[in-house]
C-alpha cells in the first residue's frame, strides 16, 4: 500500500514537472526545427500574387526554407532586422524577419548574394513575410 502511494506520488511529481516545463517552454529557435518545405522566393511571392487564398492554406504557419537574391538588409530603429529577398514583384518582395538571437550572423552578408533562410511564413501584406528567421546559407 505504501509502495503504491509512493509510486503515485512520484508519478504526480513527474507529471507536474513536465507540465511546468511545457507551460514555460520558450518559443523554439528555427535553427532546431526541420523545414516543412523548401521554395524559391520568386515562387513563394507569385503563389501569393496569383491565388492568395490558396497560398494562405499552403504556406501560412509552415516552416519554409526560402532561397533568393538578397536585395537589402533593413535595421529599424525599433530593433527589428529584416532581409529583403528579390521576388520578381513590382510592389513587394519576400521579407525575412530575423530571430533576435541571429541578427549577428548577418552582419557580413551583402546585397546581391544568394541566401537561404528558414522561418515561419506569416502571410502577405505588401511583401510575403517570414518570422523568426535564421540564416541557413549564403554565397
Amino acid at each position: 500500500m505504501k509502495k503504491i502511494l509512493l509510486i503515485l506520488l512520484a508519478l504526480g511529481l513527474i507529471c507536474g514537472a513536465i507540465g511546468y516545463y511545457m507551460y514555460n517552454k520558450p518559443v523554439e529557435s528555427m535553427s532546431g526545427i526541420k523545414a516543412d518545405l523548401s521554395i524559391a522566393a520568386t515562387d513563394l511571392y507569385s503563389a501569393f500574387e496569383t491565388d492568395e487564398a490558396k497560398a494562405t492554406t499552403l504556406y501560412i504557419g509552415k516552416v519554409l526554407e526560402v532561397q533568393g537574391k538578397l536585395l537589402n538588409v533593413e535595421n529599424s530603429d525599433q530593433g527589428g532586422t529584416s532581409l529583403i529577398l528579390e521576388a520578381g514583384g513590382m510592389m513587394g518582395g519576400v521579407v525575412c524577419r530575423l530571430d533576435s538571437a541571429s541578427t549577428a550572423n548577418v552582419s557580413n552578408i551583402q546585397p546581391g548574394q544568394t541566401v537561404t533562410l528558414r522561418g515561419e511564413c506569416t502571410g502577405k501584406i505588401m511583401d510575403v513575410e517570414l518570422a523568426r528567421c535564421v540564416l541557413i546559407s549564403n554565397n
Binding site: 518559443v27 501560412i60 529599424s76 525599433q78 527589428g80 506569416t122 501584406i125 518570422a131
Partner: protein
C-alpha cells in the same frame, strides 16, 4: 507673353504635383506591442514587422501587421494566441485604415512633436470597428516617428476567452504602436 505665362503655370503645376507625390512615408518594420496581463499572469507579445503608410498630403494612414508575427516568451501562449483566440490561419492580418483628423497642424518638413487625433477602422479577427485615439507624430531629420497607445476590448472583436483561463487573460488589451517611417521613393 501669354504663352510663357501658360508654360510657367504648367511647370509650376507639375512641380506642385511631384511634391504631393513624394509626401508618402513608409515602413515595413514598425513595432506593435500588446499586453493582456492580469495579476496572475504576464501576457504580452511584440511584432517588429508592422507595415505602415502615412500620406502627409491627405493625412490618410494605414497600418497592417501579420498576426503570426507576434512573438511571445512562451511557446504555449503563442500557440493559444494563434489557434484559440486570433484564429490566425483564418484571419492572418490585423489592419487599421484611417485619417489624421488634424493633419494640417503637422508641419511635415519641420522637426518637432505634433499631437494628433486619429480616427478610422480597426480590423482584428475579421471584425471591423470604428476607433479613435490620440497619437503623436514626431519629426526629426525627415523621418517620422508615429506612436500611440490605446485599449481594445477583446469581446468587441469576437474573441472568446474560455472560462478556465478567465481570471488569467485581461478583457481589455492595451496596444502600443511605435513606427519609424521614411519618405517613400518610387
Amino acid at each position: 507673353m501669354k504663352k510663357i505665362l501658360f508654360l510657367v503655370l504648367i511647370l509650376s503645376g507639375l512641380l506642385v504635383q511631384t511634391q504631393a507625390q513624394t509626401q508618402k512615408y513608409f515602413t515595413r518594420d514598425g513595432k506593435i506591442q500588446f499586453t493582456a496581463s492580469t495579476p496572475v499572469e504576464k501576457i504580452d507579445a511584440t511584432s517588429k514587422g508592422t507595415t505602415a503608410v502615412i500620406d502627409a498630403s491627405t493625412g490618410a494612414i494605414e497600418f497592417a501587421v501579420l498576426v503570426k508575427g507576434f512573438l511571445f516568451e512562451r511557446s504555449l501562449m503563442q500557440e493559444h494566441f494563434n489557434e484559440n483566440y486570433m484564429e490566425s490561419d483564418k484571419f492572418p492580418k490585423a489592419t487599421f485604415k484611417g485619417q489624421i483628423q488634424n493633419a494640417t497642424s503637422v508641419k511635415w518638413v519641420k522637426d518637432g512633436d505634433y499631437p494628433v487625433k486619429v480616427k478610422g477602422t480597426l480590423t482584428i479577427h475579421g471584425v471591423s470597428r470604428e476607433v479613435a485615439t490620440d497619437a503623436k507624430i514626431s519629426i526629426k531629420g525627415g523621418k517620422i516617428l508615429a506612436t500611440t497607445k490605446f485599449d481594445v476590448a477583446v469581446a468587441d472583436y469576437n474573441i472568446k476567452i474560455p472560462s478556465v483561463v478567465a481570471d488569467k487573460v485581461a478583457r481589455i488589451v492595451t496596444i502600443s504602436v511605435e513606427a519609424g517611417l521614411t519618405e517613400l521613393k518610387k
